[in-house]
Subunit: 246 residues, 2 copies
DNA sequence: CAGTGGTCTAGACCACTTC
DNA sequence: AAGTGGTCTAGACCACTGG
Protein backbone atom coordinates (compact mmCIF):
# COMPACT_ATOMS: atom_id res chain seq x y z
CA UNK A 1 0.00 0.00 0.00
CA UNK A 2 1.41 3.40 -0.97
CA UNK A 3 1.97 5.93 1.77
CA UNK A 4 1.35 9.65 1.86
CA UNK A 5 4.33 11.97 2.15
CA UNK A 6 4.03 14.74 4.67
CA UNK A 7 7.11 16.37 3.16
CA UNK A 8 5.36 16.44 -0.22
CA UNK A 9 4.09 19.94 -0.98
CA UNK A 10 0.89 18.39 -2.37
CA UNK A 11 -1.89 18.26 0.21
CA UNK A 12 -2.59 14.95 1.92
CA UNK A 13 -6.18 14.74 0.67
CA UNK A 14 -4.90 15.26 -2.85
CA UNK A 15 -2.29 12.53 -2.51
CA UNK A 16 -4.96 10.19 -1.16
CA UNK A 17 -7.18 11.03 -4.13
CA UNK A 18 -4.39 10.16 -6.53
CA UNK A 19 -3.73 6.86 -4.76
CA UNK A 20 -7.40 5.87 -4.95
CA UNK A 21 -7.70 7.03 -8.56
CA UNK A 22 -4.70 4.93 -9.43
CA UNK A 23 -6.21 1.85 -7.77
CA UNK A 24 -9.50 2.39 -9.58
CA UNK A 25 -7.91 2.97 -12.98
CA UNK A 26 -5.63 -0.04 -12.59
CA UNK A 27 -8.54 -2.29 -11.69
CA UNK A 28 -7.41 -2.97 -8.12
CA UNK A 29 -10.77 -1.57 -7.08
CA UNK A 30 -13.42 -2.99 -9.36
CA UNK A 31 -16.74 -1.25 -10.19
CA UNK A 32 -19.49 -1.75 -7.60
CA UNK A 33 -17.07 -3.05 -5.00
CA UNK A 34 -16.65 -1.21 -1.72
CA UNK A 35 -13.46 0.68 -1.04
CA UNK A 36 -12.05 0.58 2.52
CA UNK A 37 -14.31 2.33 5.02
CA UNK A 38 -13.49 5.83 6.24
CA UNK A 39 -12.13 4.65 9.63
CA UNK A 40 -9.98 2.09 7.81
CA UNK A 41 -8.52 4.75 5.52
CA UNK A 42 -7.87 6.92 8.56
CA UNK A 43 -5.72 4.26 10.22
CA UNK A 44 -3.99 2.97 7.09
CA UNK A 45 -2.95 6.40 5.84
CA UNK A 46 -2.53 8.10 9.25
CA UNK A 47 -4.70 11.07 8.45
CA UNK A 48 -7.80 12.48 10.10
CA UNK A 49 -11.28 11.55 9.03
CA UNK A 50 -11.89 15.05 7.67
CA UNK A 51 -8.98 14.61 5.30
CA UNK A 52 -10.30 11.24 4.17
CA UNK A 53 -13.74 12.72 3.64
CA UNK A 54 -12.39 15.61 1.58
CA UNK A 55 -10.64 13.14 -0.72
CA UNK A 56 -13.72 10.92 -1.01
CA UNK A 57 -16.14 13.80 -1.51
CA UNK A 58 -14.16 15.13 -4.43
CA UNK A 59 -13.97 11.69 -5.99
CA UNK A 60 -17.74 11.42 -5.61
CA UNK A 61 -18.13 14.75 -7.39
CA UNK A 62 -15.85 13.55 -10.14
CA UNK A 63 -17.96 10.47 -10.73
CA UNK A 64 -15.44 7.87 -9.54
CA UNK A 65 -17.19 6.87 -6.30
CA UNK A 66 -20.69 6.79 -4.85
CA UNK A 67 -21.72 6.51 -1.23
CA UNK A 68 -24.57 4.53 0.29
CA UNK A 69 -25.42 5.58 3.82
CA UNK A 70 -24.88 2.72 6.25
CA UNK A 71 -23.38 0.47 3.59
CA UNK A 72 -20.15 1.94 2.33
CA UNK A 73 -18.41 3.78 -0.49
CA UNK A 74 -18.32 2.10 -3.87
CA UNK A 75 -16.55 2.41 -7.19
CA UNK A 76 -18.72 3.80 -9.99
CA UNK A 77 -19.49 2.11 -13.27
CA UNK A 78 -16.84 2.73 -15.93
CA UNK A 79 -19.52 4.62 -17.84
CA UNK A 80 -19.93 7.04 -14.96
CA UNK A 81 -16.19 7.41 -14.56
CA UNK A 82 -16.00 8.67 -18.12
CA UNK A 83 -18.71 11.23 -17.50
CA UNK A 84 -16.99 14.43 -18.39
CA UNK A 85 -19.97 16.68 -18.76
CA UNK A 86 -17.83 19.67 -17.95
CA UNK A 87 -15.55 19.56 -20.93
CA UNK A 88 -16.14 20.92 -24.34
CA UNK A 89 -12.90 20.57 -26.22
CA UNK A 90 -13.20 18.84 -29.57
CA UNK A 91 -9.48 18.13 -29.46
CA UNK A 92 -9.82 16.07 -26.30
CA UNK A 93 -12.91 14.35 -27.60
CA UNK A 94 -11.01 13.20 -30.67
CA UNK A 95 -8.18 11.94 -28.49
CA UNK A 96 -10.65 10.00 -26.36
CA UNK A 97 -11.75 8.23 -29.51
CA UNK A 98 -8.16 7.21 -30.10
CA UNK A 99 -7.53 9.50 -33.05
CA UNK A 100 -5.04 12.22 -33.70
CA UNK A 101 -6.54 15.74 -33.69
CA UNK A 102 -5.35 18.37 -36.11
CA UNK A 103 -6.36 21.82 -37.24
CA UNK A 104 -5.44 23.15 -40.66
CA UNK A 105 -5.39 26.93 -40.38
CA UNK A 106 -6.89 28.36 -43.57
CA UNK A 107 -7.18 32.03 -42.68
CA UNK A 108 -5.87 34.23 -39.90
CA UNK A 109 -6.86 37.89 -40.07
CA UNK A 110 -7.95 41.01 -38.25
CA UNK A 111 -11.40 42.29 -39.18
CA UNK A 112 -14.10 44.56 -37.88
CA UNK A 113 -16.55 41.70 -37.54
CA UNK A 114 -20.24 41.34 -38.23
CA UNK A 115 -22.93 42.63 -35.89
CA UNK A 116 -23.30 39.14 -34.42
CA UNK A 117 -19.61 38.75 -33.78
CA UNK A 118 -19.23 42.22 -32.26
CA UNK A 119 -22.20 41.60 -30.01
CA UNK A 120 -21.04 38.17 -28.89
CA UNK A 121 -17.58 39.49 -28.06
CA UNK A 122 -18.94 42.71 -26.54
CA UNK A 123 -16.50 44.76 -28.62
CA UNK A 124 -16.34 48.51 -28.18
CA UNK A 125 -16.02 50.79 -31.18
CA UNK A 126 -12.24 50.93 -31.34
CA UNK A 127 -11.80 47.18 -31.04
CA UNK A 128 -11.42 44.60 -33.77
CA UNK A 129 -11.86 40.86 -33.98
CA UNK A 130 -9.28 38.20 -34.72
CA UNK A 131 -10.71 35.69 -37.17
CA UNK A 132 -9.41 32.15 -37.64
CA UNK A 133 -10.79 29.82 -40.24
CA UNK A 134 -9.93 26.22 -39.58
CA UNK A 135 -10.49 22.78 -40.96
CA UNK A 136 -10.43 20.40 -38.03
CA UNK A 137 -9.21 16.90 -38.62
CA UNK A 138 -9.04 13.52 -36.94
CA UNK A 139 -6.26 11.31 -38.32
CA UNK A 140 -6.00 13.90 -41.12
CA UNK A 141 -9.61 13.36 -42.19
CA UNK A 142 -11.64 16.60 -42.15
CA UNK A 143 -14.45 16.37 -39.61
CA UNK A 144 -15.44 19.96 -39.08
CA UNK A 145 -15.18 23.44 -40.48
CA UNK A 146 -14.76 26.09 -37.81
CA UNK A 147 -14.49 29.85 -37.65
CA UNK A 148 -13.22 31.39 -34.42
CA UNK A 149 -13.37 35.00 -33.31
CA UNK A 150 -11.39 36.53 -30.46
CA UNK A 151 -11.35 40.09 -29.15
CA UNK A 152 -8.51 42.30 -30.35
CA UNK A 153 -6.30 43.70 -28.88
CA UNK A 154 -7.16 41.68 -25.78
CA UNK A 155 -6.14 38.41 -27.40
CA UNK A 156 -3.26 39.89 -29.43
CA UNK A 157 -0.84 37.28 -28.12
CA UNK A 158 -3.03 34.53 -29.55
CA UNK A 159 -2.87 36.19 -32.93
CA UNK A 160 0.94 36.08 -32.78
CA UNK A 161 0.91 32.37 -32.02
CA UNK A 162 -1.73 31.40 -34.55
CA UNK A 163 0.51 28.87 -36.28
CA UNK A 164 0.36 26.70 -33.13
CA UNK A 165 -3.29 25.99 -33.88
CA UNK A 166 -2.20 23.12 -36.09
CA UNK A 167 -2.32 20.82 -33.07
CA UNK A 168 -5.98 21.66 -32.87
CA UNK A 169 -6.51 23.11 -29.43
CA UNK A 170 -7.37 26.78 -29.29
CA UNK A 171 -8.37 26.44 -25.62
CA UNK A 172 -4.92 25.16 -24.68
CA UNK A 173 -3.39 28.14 -26.44
CA UNK A 174 -5.79 30.53 -24.74
CA UNK A 175 -5.06 29.02 -21.32
CA UNK A 176 -1.33 29.44 -21.82
CA UNK A 177 -1.90 33.13 -22.52
CA UNK A 178 -4.05 33.75 -19.45
CA UNK A 179 -7.35 33.73 -21.34
CA UNK A 180 -9.05 31.01 -19.31
CA UNK A 181 -12.43 29.81 -20.50
CA UNK A 182 -14.61 29.31 -17.42
CA UNK A 183 -17.95 28.59 -18.98
CA UNK A 184 -18.98 27.90 -22.53
CA UNK A 185 -22.41 28.40 -24.00
CA UNK A 186 -23.21 26.15 -26.93
CA UNK A 187 -26.10 25.99 -29.32
CA UNK A 188 -26.57 23.03 -31.57
CA UNK A 189 -28.92 22.81 -34.50
CA UNK A 190 -29.33 20.79 -37.62
CA UNK A 191 -28.48 22.58 -40.85
CA UNK A 192 -27.43 22.09 -44.46
CA UNK A 193 -23.81 22.45 -45.47
CA UNK A 194 -22.87 25.52 -47.54
CA UNK A 195 -21.15 25.14 -50.89
CA UNK A 196 -17.80 26.30 -49.54
CA UNK A 197 -18.02 24.01 -46.51
CA UNK A 198 -18.93 21.04 -48.70
CA UNK A 199 -15.80 21.56 -50.80
CA UNK A 200 -13.49 21.79 -47.80
CA UNK A 201 -15.08 18.84 -46.02
CA UNK A 202 -15.20 16.81 -49.26
CA UNK A 203 -18.90 16.00 -48.95
CA UNK A 204 -21.87 16.45 -51.27
CA UNK A 205 -23.59 19.84 -51.39
CA UNK A 206 -26.91 19.82 -49.59
CA UNK A 207 -25.85 17.28 -47.00
CA UNK A 208 -27.16 17.76 -43.46
CA UNK A 209 -25.00 18.22 -40.41
CA UNK A 210 -24.70 19.82 -37.00
CA UNK A 211 -24.11 23.54 -36.76
CA UNK A 212 -22.63 24.75 -33.47
CA UNK A 213 -22.28 28.25 -32.18
CA UNK A 214 -20.30 28.63 -29.01
CA UNK A 215 -19.26 31.52 -26.78
CA UNK A 216 -16.62 31.17 -24.08
CA UNK A 217 -16.52 33.43 -21.01
CA UNK A 218 -13.84 33.91 -18.38
CA UNK A 219 -14.39 33.98 -14.62
CA UNK A 220 -15.47 37.62 -14.70
CA UNK A 221 -18.11 36.94 -17.31
CA UNK A 222 -16.27 38.63 -20.18
CA UNK A 223 -16.60 36.89 -23.54
CA UNK A 224 -13.19 35.76 -24.79
CA UNK A 225 -14.06 33.62 -27.80
CA UNK A 226 -16.92 33.04 -30.18
CA UNK A 227 -17.04 30.31 -32.80
CA UNK A 228 -19.26 28.83 -35.46
CA UNK A 229 -18.65 25.34 -36.74
CA UNK A 230 -20.23 22.73 -38.96
CA UNK A 231 -20.01 18.96 -38.50
CA UNK A 232 -21.27 16.78 -41.36
CA UNK A 233 -23.79 14.32 -40.01
CA UNK A 234 -22.04 11.34 -41.47
CA UNK A 235 -18.58 12.18 -40.12
CA UNK A 236 -19.18 12.85 -36.50
CA UNK A 237 -21.79 12.24 -33.88
CA UNK A 238 -21.87 14.34 -30.80
CA UNK A 239 -21.63 12.15 -27.74
CA UNK A 240 -22.54 13.18 -24.19
CA UNK A 241 -22.58 11.38 -20.87
CA UNK A 242 -24.69 13.18 -18.32
CA UNK A 243 -25.06 12.57 -14.63
CA UNK A 244 -28.53 13.24 -13.31
CA UNK A 245 -28.60 15.86 -10.56
CA UNK A 246 -29.20 14.46 -7.03
CA UNK B 1 -30.64 38.22 8.80
CA UNK B 2 -32.28 34.80 8.93
CA UNK B 3 -31.14 32.39 11.61
CA UNK B 4 -30.52 28.67 11.47
CA UNK B 5 -32.78 26.40 13.49
CA UNK B 6 -31.05 23.74 15.51
CA UNK B 7 -34.41 22.07 16.11
CA UNK B 8 -34.90 21.83 12.36
CA UNK B 9 -34.26 18.29 11.15
CA UNK B 10 -32.45 19.75 8.12
CA UNK B 11 -28.69 19.96 8.63
CA UNK B 12 -27.18 23.33 9.48
CA UNK B 13 -24.96 23.45 6.40
CA UNK B 14 -28.02 22.79 4.27
CA UNK B 15 -30.00 25.56 5.94
CA UNK B 16 -27.08 27.92 5.41
CA UNK B 17 -26.94 26.94 1.74
CA UNK B 18 -30.62 27.75 1.35
CA UNK B 19 -30.21 31.13 3.03
CA UNK B 20 -27.33 32.05 0.73
CA UNK B 21 -29.11 30.74 -2.35
CA UNK B 22 -32.11 32.83 -1.43
CA UNK B 23 -29.98 35.95 -1.06
CA UNK B 24 -28.31 35.31 -4.41
CA UNK B 25 -31.54 34.61 -6.25
CA UNK B 26 -33.25 37.66 -4.75
CA UNK B 27 -30.36 39.91 -5.78
CA UNK B 28 -29.27 40.74 -2.24
CA UNK B 29 -25.90 39.34 -3.25
CA UNK B 30 -25.06 40.64 -6.71
CA UNK B 31 -22.80 38.84 -9.21
CA UNK B 32 -19.06 39.40 -8.70
CA UNK B 33 -19.55 40.84 -5.23
CA UNK B 34 -17.99 39.15 -2.25
CA UNK B 35 -20.19 37.33 0.23
CA UNK B 36 -19.29 37.60 3.94
CA UNK B 37 -15.98 35.92 4.77
CA UNK B 38 -15.91 32.50 6.38
CA UNK B 39 -15.10 33.82 9.88
CA UNK B 40 -17.93 36.34 9.52
CA UNK B 41 -20.40 33.60 8.59
CA UNK B 42 -19.15 31.57 11.57
CA UNK B 43 -20.01 34.33 14.03
CA UNK B 44 -23.25 35.50 12.40
CA UNK B 45 -24.76 32.04 12.12
CA UNK B 46 -23.12 30.50 15.21
CA UNK B 47 -21.76 27.46 13.44
CA UNK B 48 -18.25 26.09 13.08
CA UNK B 49 -16.04 26.92 10.17
CA UNK B 50 -16.25 23.36 8.86
CA UNK B 51 -20.02 23.75 8.57
CA UNK B 52 -19.62 27.04 6.73
CA UNK B 53 -17.09 25.50 4.40
CA UNK B 54 -19.35 22.54 3.63
CA UNK B 55 -22.12 24.93 2.63
CA UNK B 56 -19.81 27.10 0.54
CA UNK B 57 -18.06 24.17 -1.14
CA UNK B 58 -21.34 22.74 -2.33
CA UNK B 59 -22.46 26.12 -3.65
CA UNK B 60 -19.15 26.37 -5.52
CA UNK B 61 -19.80 22.96 -7.06
CA UNK B 62 -23.27 24.08 -8.03
CA UNK B 63 -21.92 27.09 -9.86
CA UNK B 64 -23.34 29.77 -7.56
CA UNK B 65 -20.07 30.90 -5.96
CA UNK B 66 -16.37 30.98 -6.79
CA UNK B 67 -13.45 31.40 -4.44
CA UNK B 68 -10.27 33.42 -4.91
CA UNK B 69 -7.53 32.49 -2.49
CA UNK B 70 -6.60 35.45 -0.31
CA UNK B 71 -9.40 37.63 -1.72
CA UNK B 72 -12.73 36.12 -0.81
CA UNK B 73 -15.76 34.20 -2.03
CA UNK B 74 -17.81 35.74 -4.82
CA UNK B 75 -21.16 35.31 -6.49
CA UNK B 76 -20.98 33.77 -9.97
CA UNK B 77 -22.25 35.30 -13.19
CA UNK B 78 -25.94 34.59 -13.80
CA UNK B 79 -24.84 32.59 -16.84
CA UNK B 80 -22.80 30.29 -14.60
CA UNK B 81 -25.62 30.00 -12.10
CA UNK B 82 -27.81 28.58 -14.84
CA UNK B 83 -25.19 26.03 -15.76
CA UNK B 84 -26.98 22.77 -15.36
CA UNK B 85 -24.74 20.52 -17.33
CA UNK B 86 -25.98 17.55 -15.34
CA UNK B 87 -29.58 17.53 -16.39
CA UNK B 88 -31.11 16.05 -19.47
CA UNK B 89 -34.84 16.37 -19.15
CA UNK B 90 -36.54 17.96 -22.12
CA UNK B 91 -39.53 18.71 -19.93
CA UNK B 92 -37.46 20.90 -17.63
CA UNK B 93 -35.71 22.52 -20.55
CA UNK B 94 -39.04 23.55 -22.02
CA UNK B 95 -40.11 24.94 -18.66
CA UNK B 96 -36.90 26.95 -18.44
CA UNK B 97 -37.84 28.56 -21.72
CA UNK B 98 -41.13 29.60 -20.19
CA UNK B 99 -43.29 27.19 -22.14
CA UNK B 100 -45.69 24.48 -21.11
CA UNK B 101 -44.41 20.95 -21.77
CA UNK B 102 -46.74 18.23 -22.94
CA UNK B 103 -46.54 14.72 -24.29
CA UNK B 104 -49.22 13.26 -26.50
CA UNK B 105 -49.07 9.49 -26.08
CA UNK B 106 -49.66 7.92 -29.49
CA UNK B 107 -48.87 4.29 -28.78
CA UNK B 108 -48.31 2.20 -25.67
CA UNK B 109 -47.54 -1.46 -26.23
CA UNK B 110 -45.55 -4.51 -25.22
CA UNK B 111 -43.25 -5.88 -27.93
CA UNK B 112 -40.27 -8.12 -28.31
CA UNK B 113 -38.13 -5.28 -29.61
CA UNK B 114 -35.48 -4.99 -32.31
CA UNK B 115 -31.93 -6.22 -31.88
CA UNK B 116 -30.82 -2.68 -31.06
CA UNK B 117 -33.47 -2.22 -28.41
CA UNK B 118 -32.85 -5.61 -26.80
CA UNK B 119 -29.13 -4.93 -26.71
CA UNK B 120 -29.49 -1.43 -25.27
CA UNK B 121 -31.83 -2.69 -22.55
CA UNK B 122 -29.77 -5.86 -21.96
CA UNK B 123 -32.94 -7.96 -22.15
CA UNK B 124 -32.76 -11.69 -21.54
CA UNK B 125 -34.72 -14.08 -23.73
CA UNK B 126 -37.89 -14.18 -21.66
CA UNK B 127 -38.15 -10.40 -21.31
CA UNK B 128 -40.07 -7.95 -23.43
CA UNK B 129 -39.88 -4.21 -24.00
CA UNK B 130 -42.46 -1.57 -23.25
CA UNK B 131 -42.75 0.80 -26.18
CA UNK B 132 -44.14 4.32 -25.96
CA UNK B 133 -44.55 6.52 -28.98
CA UNK B 134 -44.91 10.16 -28.07
CA UNK B 135 -45.29 13.54 -29.68
CA UNK B 136 -43.69 16.04 -27.37
CA UNK B 137 -45.06 19.53 -27.30
CA UNK B 138 -44.28 22.99 -25.98
CA UNK B 139 -47.36 25.18 -25.62
CA UNK B 140 -49.17 22.49 -27.63
CA UNK B 141 -46.84 22.92 -30.60
CA UNK B 142 -45.12 19.67 -31.58
CA UNK B 143 -41.36 19.97 -31.16
CA UNK B 144 -40.20 16.38 -31.15
CA UNK B 145 -41.17 12.85 -31.99
CA UNK B 146 -39.94 10.33 -29.46
CA UNK B 147 -40.03 6.57 -29.01
CA UNK B 148 -39.17 5.20 -25.57
CA UNK B 149 -38.36 1.63 -24.60
CA UNK B 150 -38.30 0.25 -21.07
CA UNK B 151 -37.52 -3.25 -19.81
CA UNK B 152 -40.51 -5.49 -19.06
CA UNK B 153 -41.42 -6.78 -16.54
CA UNK B 154 -38.97 -4.65 -14.57
CA UNK B 155 -40.79 -1.43 -15.45
CA UNK B 156 -44.28 -2.95 -15.37
CA UNK B 157 -45.54 -0.25 -13.01
CA UNK B 158 -44.62 2.40 -15.57
CA UNK B 159 -46.69 0.59 -18.17
CA UNK B 160 -49.70 0.76 -15.85
CA UNK B 161 -49.32 4.50 -15.40
CA UNK B 162 -48.60 5.32 -19.05
CA UNK B 163 -51.46 7.80 -19.27
CA UNK B 164 -49.58 10.11 -16.88
CA UNK B 165 -47.04 10.75 -19.61
CA UNK B 166 -49.23 13.54 -20.91
CA UNK B 167 -47.43 15.96 -18.61
CA UNK B 168 -44.32 15.09 -20.52
CA UNK B 169 -41.87 13.78 -17.96
CA UNK B 170 -41.05 10.10 -18.19
CA UNK B 171 -38.12 10.59 -15.82
CA UNK B 172 -40.41 11.94 -13.11
CA UNK B 173 -42.64 8.92 -13.53
CA UNK B 174 -39.66 6.59 -13.41
CA UNK B 175 -38.30 8.24 -10.28
CA UNK B 176 -41.63 7.84 -8.52
CA UNK B 177 -41.51 4.12 -9.25
CA UNK B 178 -37.98 3.61 -7.96
CA UNK B 179 -36.37 3.50 -11.39
CA UNK B 180 -33.85 6.29 -10.83
CA UNK B 181 -31.80 7.39 -13.81
CA UNK B 182 -28.26 8.00 -12.58
CA UNK B 183 -26.44 8.59 -15.82
CA UNK B 184 -27.66 9.12 -19.34
CA UNK B 185 -25.69 8.50 -22.49
CA UNK B 186 -26.76 10.62 -25.44
CA UNK B 187 -25.76 10.64 -29.07
CA UNK B 188 -26.74 13.50 -31.29
CA UNK B 189 -26.52 13.55 -35.05
CA UNK B 190 -28.02 15.42 -37.93
CA UNK B 191 -30.55 13.51 -39.98
CA UNK B 192 -33.48 13.86 -42.34
CA UNK B 193 -37.03 13.51 -41.06
CA UNK B 194 -38.95 10.37 -42.07
CA UNK B 195 -42.29 10.62 -43.83
CA UNK B 196 -44.23 9.57 -40.75
CA UNK B 197 -42.33 11.97 -38.49
CA UNK B 198 -42.89 14.83 -40.94
CA UNK B 199 -46.65 14.27 -40.82
CA UNK B 200 -46.80 14.20 -37.04
CA UNK B 201 -44.51 17.20 -36.64
CA UNK B 202 -46.30 19.08 -39.42
CA UNK B 203 -43.13 19.85 -41.35
CA UNK B 204 -42.03 19.26 -44.93
CA UNK B 205 -40.64 15.87 -45.89
CA UNK B 206 -36.87 15.90 -46.32
CA UNK B 207 -36.29 18.56 -43.72
CA UNK B 208 -33.17 18.23 -41.57
CA UNK B 209 -33.19 17.92 -37.81
CA UNK B 210 -31.43 16.49 -34.79
CA UNK B 211 -31.73 12.79 -34.08
CA UNK B 212 -31.02 11.73 -30.50
CA UNK B 213 -30.51 8.31 -29.10
CA UNK B 214 -30.30 8.08 -25.35
CA UNK B 215 -29.83 5.32 -22.82
CA UNK B 216 -30.44 5.81 -19.10
CA UNK B 217 -28.72 3.69 -16.44
CA UNK B 218 -29.38 3.37 -12.73
CA UNK B 219 -26.77 3.45 -9.97
CA UNK B 220 -25.87 -0.20 -10.49
CA UNK B 221 -25.24 0.32 -14.19
CA UNK B 222 -28.38 -1.46 -15.40
CA UNK B 223 -30.08 0.12 -18.41
CA UNK B 224 -33.58 1.25 -17.51
CA UNK B 225 -34.62 3.25 -20.56
CA UNK B 226 -33.68 3.68 -24.19
CA UNK B 227 -35.14 6.28 -26.50
CA UNK B 228 -34.88 7.62 -30.01
CA UNK B 229 -36.14 11.07 -30.86
CA UNK B 230 -36.17 13.56 -33.69
CA UNK B 231 -36.15 17.34 -33.34
CA UNK B 232 -36.81 19.36 -36.50
CA UNK B 233 -33.99 21.86 -36.95
CA UNK B 234 -36.30 24.80 -37.28
CA UNK B 235 -38.32 24.07 -34.14
CA UNK B 236 -35.73 23.54 -31.49
CA UNK B 237 -32.10 24.25 -30.85
CA UNK B 238 -30.24 22.27 -28.31
CA UNK B 239 -28.69 24.59 -25.77
CA UNK B 240 -25.90 23.69 -23.36
CA UNK B 241 -23.97 25.63 -20.77
CA UNK B 242 -20.76 23.92 -19.81
CA UNK B 243 -18.34 24.69 -17.05
CA UNK B 244 -14.73 24.04 -17.94
CA UNK B 245 -13.05 21.55 -15.62
CA UNK B 246 -10.62 23.08 -13.07
C1' DC C 1 0.69 43.60 8.48
C1' DA C 2 -4.25 41.89 8.74
C1' DG C 3 -7.62 39.40 6.29
C1' DT C 4 -8.81 35.89 3.15
C1' DG C 5 -9.37 31.04 1.88
C1' DG C 6 -6.66 26.11 2.05
C1' DT C 7 -5.37 22.26 4.80
C1' DC C 8 -5.54 19.39 8.90
C1' DT C 9 -6.45 17.44 13.56
C1' DA C 10 -9.00 14.75 17.28
C1' DG C 11 -12.59 14.33 18.91
C1' DA C 12 -18.24 13.83 19.25
C1' DC C 13 -22.98 12.34 18.24
C1' DC C 14 -26.38 10.88 14.87
C1' DA C 15 -28.89 8.01 11.07
C1' DC C 16 -28.88 4.10 8.39
C1' DT C 17 -27.82 -0.86 7.35
C1' DT C 18 -26.93 -5.54 8.63
C1' DC C 19 -26.84 -9.25 11.73
C1' DA D 1 -24.89 -4.45 18.68
C1' DA D 2 -21.50 -3.26 15.38
C1' DG D 3 -20.19 -0.98 11.31
C1' DT D 4 -21.10 2.36 7.88
C1' DG D 5 -21.43 7.19 6.25
C1' DG D 6 -23.62 12.14 7.75
C1' DT D 7 -23.15 16.13 10.56
C1' DC D 8 -20.73 19.16 13.71
C1' DT D 9 -17.34 21.32 16.91
C1' DA D 10 -13.16 24.13 18.35
C1' DG D 11 -9.29 24.56 17.61
C1' DA D 12 -4.47 24.99 14.62
C1' DC D 13 -1.15 26.37 11.02
C1' DC D 14 -0.29 27.61 6.22
C1' DA D 15 -0.47 30.29 1.58
C1' DC D 16 -2.09 34.02 -0.81
C1' DT D 17 -3.66 38.95 -1.30
C1' DG D 18 -3.78 43.67 -0.25
C1' DG D 19 -2.37 48.03 1.86
Amino acid sequence: MPTLERTNPLPLYYQLKEVLKQQIRSGHLAPHTAIPSEPELVTSYHVSRATVRQALSELVHEGLLYRLHGKGTFVCEPRVQQTQSELTSLTEDIQRRGKRPGGLLLVSELIRGSETVRKQLALIDSEQAIRFERLRTADDIPIAYEVDYLPYPRAASIYQRAKELSDGSLYNLMNSEGLNPYIVEQKIRADIVTVREAELLRISPGEAGLRFTSTAFDLTGSPIEYSESFFPGSQYDFHVMLRVAN
